[in-house]
Every structure is written in C-alpha cells, then in structure tokens.
C-alpha cells in the first residue's frame, strides 16, 4: 500500500489508528498485536504473495537469533558460525530475488552463457528489511540485544511506517520505545504526526512529482540514443536531483509522522543534503540510516581489521600529518570504494547503480585525500574554511547533480549521453520563440553559441521556473527537523542553541495559524492524490 494513496490515507490509517487507540485503552499488548497485524495487511495489500515470501525469512531469522542468544558467551566459535550463517542466508535471500536476473544477464553478456533470464517478483522493501535483519543478528551476537520475544521481533521487522523504504532502524532504538509507549491517543503526538505526514505528502505530490513528468521524456530520449542539447541535459540532471530530493525528503517526513501517531520516534534519515559543503557532509545528511548501517557493519569492521594488520606489521597508520600514501590507499581509499560499491549494488541490480556507487566512492576518497593534504598547503584552517566553504558547496552540488544523472539513467550509456550534453558536446539551442523575446540577451546568447530551435518554449519556461523554485526551497528554507526541533521529530533531534532567523520564524507550534497553514498544505497534497505515483525509494 502506498502512503500516497486514497486507500491508505482514508482507509488503512484511520482504521489502524482507531483500533490501536481503542485497544490501547484496554491492554497495551493487544494494541501492539493489532499494530503488527495491520502492518502485515499493509505489506500484503499490493501483492499478498509478498507475505509468503517474507514470512519464512522472518521465522528463520528469529530462530537464528534464539540460537545465537543461547550459545552467546558459552561457545564463541559456534556463535560466530551462526552469525556468519545468518548473514549469508539473508544476503542470499536478497541476492536471489534482486540480483539473479542481473547476474544471468551479465554472464550472458560476458561469456555468452545463454541463461534464460528468470523474472522474479521482488518482495517489497526487501533490501531495507534484509539490512535491518542483519543488524539485528549482529546486535544479538554482540550482546547488545538480550531480551526479545517473537511478538516484539515481528513488530520490529513489520512496523509499517518504516517497513518498505526505511529508515533502517535498530532493535535497540525501537523496542525500548514500544515498551513504554502508552498506546493511547495523545493530542500532542497526533498534532506532530499530521504535521509531519502531510508536509511530507505535499513535498512528494506537489513538489517532486511534477518534475518526474518533465524529466522522464528526456531520459527516454537519452536511452533511445538521441543526443540532448545543453539546456535539456541540465534540466534532466537538475530536475531529477530535485525530484528524488523531494521524493525522499517527503517519504522520510511521512514515515516520521506515521510512527509518531503511535508514539514512536524514528531515527533521522534526511537532513537537507543539498546544503552540504562536502561529499562527506552529503552522506551524513542523505539517507542517514543507510550511511549509519554501512559505516557500522561494513566500513568500520573493515578498517579496524586492516588497521590491526598494519599495526602488527609495524606500518604507519592513517590520520594526521604523517599519513603516507600507502596508508591512505589501504586504510581509506579501498574500504571507502568497496563500501560505496556495495551501496551502489544495494540500490539496484544494474551497471548504472554500480557506477554511481563507485563514483560517489571516488568523490569521498578525493574529499578525504584533500582533508589530509589541505593542512600541508593552507596552514590557517580558519580563514581557509571561511573562504572555501562556498567553493565546497558548489563542487559538492555539481558532483551530486552529475552523479544523479547516472542514478536515474536507464543505462550507463544514456547517462554518459546526458553528461556529454551537460558539457555542451551536442550543442546549445534555445527555442526560437524565447530567443526572440528576451531583447538584447538574444543576440548575446547567439554569440555565445546558442542556436534557435523550432521547439516549444513553454517546456523550457516551466522547467526553469520549477527547478529555480525547488532549489530555493531546498537551499534556503529550514527543513522539517529544524522546524519541529522543539518536539524531537526524530530520535536525538534537538533545537539549535542559536537558531537562524528563518528557523525561528518558521518554528512549528500548536497554534491556529499553523493549523490553518497545515490545512492548506494537507488539502494541496490530498487534491494531488489523483495522480498516483510510487516513491522512488520503494523500488530498492
């Protein structure tokens, strides 16, 4: 069931909440069981077979966790074997559904293997669910999670606000909340919940989706091998960047709001990433829970082991002014590239996703490399930071936009076509109607190499206006986490000690003015429900 559907907003959600609150007045555990059952219905809505696919995996994972808990301290070797077995099982489960077809295709491409492609139903949200289950097994193995029951485990896995597209949560941050949640109607939680949910719906339907209709034909054009002119290529790249930005931002807000109805806070997942002034910063703001997962369960164990090995060999370490090239390559570049490669593969089975991951890995390596080199070149860190922050912002923004073209393009080749267009390799045109109407700028642009084209000017006008407006929102306005900071909209969010003027001005409060504003935002979102579209992150 999509968050942005009539059935969800007018059917599923009110019924689930009503049942939860009514049962919660009698007994809390009934309410939590009801929530688990409702989540199952939510998951089964689109394709009931999804439940049959995911249920065995849940049962096996639960059994493994029980076994892990029992062996625990007594026999570390067995526990380790169980953990590795569990991780391998989950990765194979994901791999079978998500990557089998891709691997067959690749084998056919490379070795002419002649596999018939198997087309499988991809269980909804399997990539997110798999990571969450792996994190749980690791946590049990580490002894970070000791008390758990099947009911709690099922609720943790199935809790519908974060079931299909994250955030990727930890058992240890969720279950203590469920353990104390009152399961009763709370006007405060409901007010914050509707605010977050409908602001998210607005972002998704009113801000993001119209861009999708603008850029889709451009990517189709690139996929068909038709070159894109300068303006079209930039509209494709910028347009998609902003589309996925508001799509994911909106989804994350809606997930936070939904969980809040039940008195639950989810972790931060999206924090104005386009305001980043470095790629490292970008990944601490974009899909935060994925970065957190990959850092904790992949990157850190990897670097820890590599560092131990270098220490044993007596080689220099990474860090500070004494960093050597070999330490940089082995302790930073390799783990970073590997992590981002896996991040790319996780997003989708396709060369374009893999290249996108590697590209971001490369950008991160350059970013880290510069952090090591910079103090050797610019000694005054303070004045450097002041002067270079805007440069860092522009470089980061352009890198992200270029990389997004690879993320969206149906094939890696078509992304290259878009890149070529963006650097002007296919020429620059402007609709004749526009060149004629912009006065002295017309001849000037013509001198710069823009040629008139017999295309409609309205497309360019609409795209430019939309992109400019959305960029302004993404870069200048405070985000929902800042607006609601006083009410801890996500785990650990606190108000800034000295908030900026705009943040102070737009701070959410339970006033009539905000209620009226939210009513307009809600209506705009609900009126836009007619044009159904999926969240981009629901496909991963």
């Amino acid at each position: 069931m999509l968050f942005n559907s009539y059935a969800f907003i007018f059917g599923f959600l009110p019924l689930t909440l009503a049942g939860f609150w009514v049962l919660g007045h009698r007994r809390r555990d009934w309410a939590l069981l009801w929530l688990t059952a409702a989540s199952l219905v939510f998951y089964a809505w689109w394709r009931p077979i999804n439940v049959l696919l995911i249920a065995p995996s849940i049962l096996i994972n639960y059994a493994l966790s029980l076994a892990l808990r029992r062996t625990g301290e007594d026999s570390p070797a067995l526990a380790r074997a169980l953990l590795i077995g569990g991780i391998v099982f989950n990765l194979c489960f994901l791999g079978y559904f998500k990557y089998l077809t891709f691997l067959q295709g690749t084998a056919n491409d490379l070795f002419d293997a002649g596999f018939t492609l198997t087309h499988l139903i991809l269980p909804l949200g399997i990539s997110f669910i798999t990571f969450q289950k792996i994190a749980f097994l690791v946590d049990v193995h580490a002894g970070r999670v000791k008390e758990f029951t099947f009911r709690n485990y099922a609720l943790f896995v199935l809790f519908f606000p974060q079931l299909v597209a994250g955030p990727i949560v930890h058992y240890r941050e969720m279950m203590p909340q469920f353990a104390v949640a009152p399961c009763r109607f709370s006007a405060e939680n409901a007010a914050i919940g509707v605010s977050l949910f409908f602001m998210g719906l607005f972002k998704k339907l009113v801000l993001a989706d119209p861009l999708s209709r603008l850029v889709a034909p451009l990517y189709a054009q690139a996929a068909a091998g038709t070159p894109l002119t300068l303006t079209d290529a930039w509209i494709a790249a910028l347009g998609f960047t902003l589309q996925i930005y508001f799509d994911f931002s909106g989804y994350s807000d809606m997930a936070l709001g939904l969980a809040r109805f039940f008195g639950i806070k989810l972790p931060v997942n999206f924090n104005s990433p386009l305001k980043s002034s470095s790629i490292i910063d970008f990944w601490l703001r974009w899909h935060v829970s994925l970065t957190r997962f990959l850092t904790a369960y992949l990157y850190n164990p990897l670097t820890l082991n590599l560092t131990r090995r270098r220490v044993a060999q007596g080689k220099p370490l990474f860090g500070g002014r004494n960093t050597t090239l070999s330490a940089f390559v082995w302790l930073l570049a390799m783990p970073t590239l590997l992590t981002m490669l896996i991040s790319g593969i996780w997003h989708g089975a396709g060369y374009a996703y893999i290249l996108w991951g590697l590209l971001h890995g490369l950008l991160l390596v350059v970013n880290h490399g510069w952090r090591v080199l910079r103090p050797r070149i610019f000694l005054d860190a303070k004045s450097y930071n002041r002067a270079m922050k805007p440069v860092g912002f522009v470089l980061t923004f352009l890198s992200v936009v270029f990389a997004m073209a690879m993320f969206r393009a149906p094939t890696a080749g078509s992304a290259v076509t878009i890149w070529q267009g963006m650097i002007g390799m296919f020429g620059a045109t402007l609709p004749e109607a526009i060149l004629n109407r912009i006065g002295p700028a017309g001849p000037w642009l013509t001198a710069l190499g823009f040629t008139p084209a017999w295309t409609s000017g309205s497309f360019l006008m609409e795209a430019t206006l939309r992109i400019a407006a959305l960029l302004a929102i993404a870069l200048c306005l405070p985000n929902t986490l800042e607006m609601l900071a006083r009410f801890e909209p996500a785990i650990g969010v606190k108000p800034a000690k000295q908030p900026e003027r705009l943040v102070r001005l737009l701070t959410w409060e339970p006033t009539s003015a905000w209620a009226l504003t939210l009513a307009v935002v809600t209506l705009a979102g609900v009126l836009s429900l007619g044009e159904l579209s999926e969240f981009l992150y629901w496909q991963f």
Partner: protein, 400 residues
C-alpha cells in the same frame, strides 16, 4: 482545550471547509464542462483547459447536446470545422463537433460514433479521415480504459456496465483534484484575454492557440515546426509500410463504421481531409505517394461494396489552389495565410467550403466525390496538379 487538541480541531475543520470551497468552485467554474454549469461571461464563458481533457469534455457535452449530425475526426476537424453556422442545412442541425485532438485513431473513430448515436437523435455522420491513420497498424483495443468506460455503449455496442462507476470517478476528478482546481483558476484568469481557447457547447473550438502563435511568431514559424515534424515522421511511416502487402491497415474499422451506420439508419459522409502541398511533398519524397493512391482506391471500393446509397466519399487531399497556397518565408513574421494555419491544420473558411461541397450547396470547385469508377482518373489528375505545383518553384529543375 489544550493547545494540541485545539490545533487538531482547527486543522480538521479548516480542511473540511477548504475542501468544500474547492469543490464548490470547481463545480461552478466547471473547467472541463462535465457538469454543464452555466457559462457566465467574464468568469467561465470560455474553457481553455477543456482542450487537454477533450475525451472527457466531449463525452459529457454530447450527452447533453444530443446532435442530429456529428462531425468526427482528429484535431484538424476539431479546429477547422465549425458545428454551427449557415453552412449547415436546417435538416442536419444541430451539429456537434466530436473530433478529438491529440492521439486520434480509427478505434476512437468508432467509439465516438457509437457514443454520438447513443445520445438518441443522430441522423447524419460526417467523418474526416487522415490517410496517416491507415499507414500504421493499430494495436487491437486493450481492456477498457477510463475514456471507454464513461461512454454510453461498450465496444460491442451494448449498454456500458462500467459507466456508473466511471462517472463517479470523473465527477471526483473534476471536483476534488489539484488539476481541476488549477484549471478552474486558469479558466477565470484567461477570460479577459483577447482570444481564449475553448471547447464550445457544440464541441467546436476557438482557434486561439493558433491565432496567438501566428500573430506572435508568424505563420512561417508554424510551418517551419511542422516541416521538422514531417521530415522525421514520413521516413518512419515509409519504413513501416515497406514490406506491407494487401489492403492498407485499419480499413476494417471503416467497414465497421459503415456497417454501424447502416444498422442505425445514419447517413454517412466520409471525407479525406486536405493537407497543404508542402507536407504532401514529404510523402512524395518518402515514396508514400502510391500508398496514398492505394488508400483512396481501396476506400472507394470499400464504400461501394458495403455502403450502397447512404454513404458518400469525398476526397479533399489534392494539389488545388487551396492546398498550394504560398507559404511566407521564415524571415516573414507578418504575412498570414488564408486556408491553412500550417500544413496539416486547415482554417475554418476551408472547413466552410467543404461543408458546402458535401451538402450540395453552391461552393468553389474543391475536392471530388470518389467512386471505384472515378478514383483512377482522380489520382491521375492530382499527379498532374503536383507536376504543375513543383514547376512553380523556380529553384526546382522540374524534372521529377
């Protein structure tokens, strides 16, 4: 009341009030003419946004209008043929223009004819055919989409069981969507423009879109855009037809239309729509001319075989003085043409002449009735017309 509870109450109450206001506004303005709300001058007399929902708008309009004569065709008929006016004989009035701009095809031709007939008073059908629609085989109709579901009859001609649900859906779309709201606002704002696009209650269109482009960028730019379009399209059509043998695609749908009219006692006039010579040249160059001649021959035979007396076939696709009207050069943004907006869209005066010709009234010599006996001679004449046309062009060595 504590602040959060008050917040929720204010939010919910405001939401209900706002939603009601939006529905009321959309009902009153009725941007797609679904409800038939009164057209008030200065507020919603013209409905510019109906153009993008013409299937929706026209299905509802025609049910209210209940015409004696229906005009069918693509955007060319939508823009180029008036439904009201002295050209129409009293016996044929009222006339409804049920031409569909956008992706017109022969499946749509039959569906719109059935809808028109189901409104109860239909006695005449005037259907314009575009030869391009017979150069690409149409996919067999899929499961009914919303445009099919709202019609009075299903494809096999029985009462449509899905209609009630679809009408609810349409009402919802026209009242409670962002699109409807922004279209209502746009409708109000556009009323004071000198010329506003509209689908009038009789289905005919004001040609504000073409008038504005022709005045702003010049007719020459309209022709230039279409040149690019045809230069791209004609080779594709030719490639698709290269290996085609036997009768042209989709002619069976015309046979269905003829059969339907015979069953219902509807007098049918078919007309091959005129195209400006400049576009016809692209077809000539792509080697499609024999296919156009084949189309006319097969159509004449089909009409003679199935149609008997009730069906007439007119051919307006030629190289006459109307279709060879000179086109202003690209540098000229001022000069306006008399008969064509651009190569495929003719202007209303040409539409008037065709109506007069087809209804047997006095009119300039244009077009001809096609029968199996006359079609060969007609094809030969047009080739001669073309030869004369290309020799007018001084840059042309006049050899082909």
């Amino acid at each position: 009341m504590q602040p959060y509870a008050r917040f929720l109450c204010v939010w919910f109450a405001a939401l209900l009030v706002l939603a009601f206001c939006v529905a009321a506004l959309n009902f009153a303005i009725d941007p797609y003419d679904v409800f038939g709300s009164p057209r008030v001058a200065g507020i919603n007399a013209q409905k510019p946004r109906a153009r993008d929902h013409s299937m929706l708008t026209k299905a509802y309009q025609i049910e209210r209008f209940r015409p004696a004569t229906v005009l069918l065709g693509s955007s060319r008929v939508h823009i180029g043929v008036d439904a009201s006016g002295p050209e129409w004989p009293a016996a044929m009035q009222p006339v409804y223009n049920y031409a569909i701009p956008g992706s017109y095809n022969t499946t749509l031709m039959l569906a719109t004819l059935q809808q028109a007939a189901a409104t109860g008073r239909l006695a005449h059908a005037v259907i314009f055919l575009d030869f391009q629609n017979f150069f690409v085989p149409e996919a067999p109709p899929g499961p009914p989409n919303e445009d099919d579901r709202r019609l009075l009859l299903d494809p096999s001609g029985n009462a449509n069981a899905l209609r009630g649900y679809q009408r609810l859906d349409d009402g919802f779309l026209a009242l409670m969507t962002m699109g409807a709201l922004s279209d209502s606002v746009a409708t109000i704002l556009s009323q004071h423009a000198a010329l506003t696009l509209d689908i009038q209650p009789d289905g005919a269109s004001t040609d504000a879109d073409f008038v504005n482009i022709a005045r702003g960028d010049g007719t020459s730019s309209l022709f230039a855009q279409k040149r690019v379009f045809e230069a791209n399209r004609t080779p594709v059509l030719a490639r698709g037809l290269a290996a085609w043998t036997g009768p042209l695609p989709n002619l069976g749908r015309v046979a269905d239309v003829i059969a339907f009219c015979r069953r219902r006692g509807i007098a049918l006039t078919l007309a091959i729509a005129p195209t400006h010579a400049e576009a016809l040249e692209f077809y000539w160059r792509a080697g499609l001319w024999p296919r156009i001649e084949q189309f006319k021959t097969e159509l004449a035979e089909l009409v003679a075989r199935d149609g008997a007396e009730g069906v007439k076939l007119w051919d307006f696709s030629d190289y006459s003085s109307f279709t060879t009207e000179p086109v202003p050069p690209v540098s000229d943004r001022k000069t306006q043409t008399t008969w064509f907006w651009e190569p495929s869209h003719f202007k209303k005066p040409l539409g008037h002449i065709m109506i007069r010709r087809m209804t047997g009234q006095a009119a300039p010599e244009f077009g001809a009735l096609l029968t199996p006996e006359t079609v060969a001679e007609r094809n030969r004449q047009i080739r001669a017309q073309r030869q004369a046309y290309i020799c007018l062009d001084t840059a042309n060595p006049c050899k082909s």
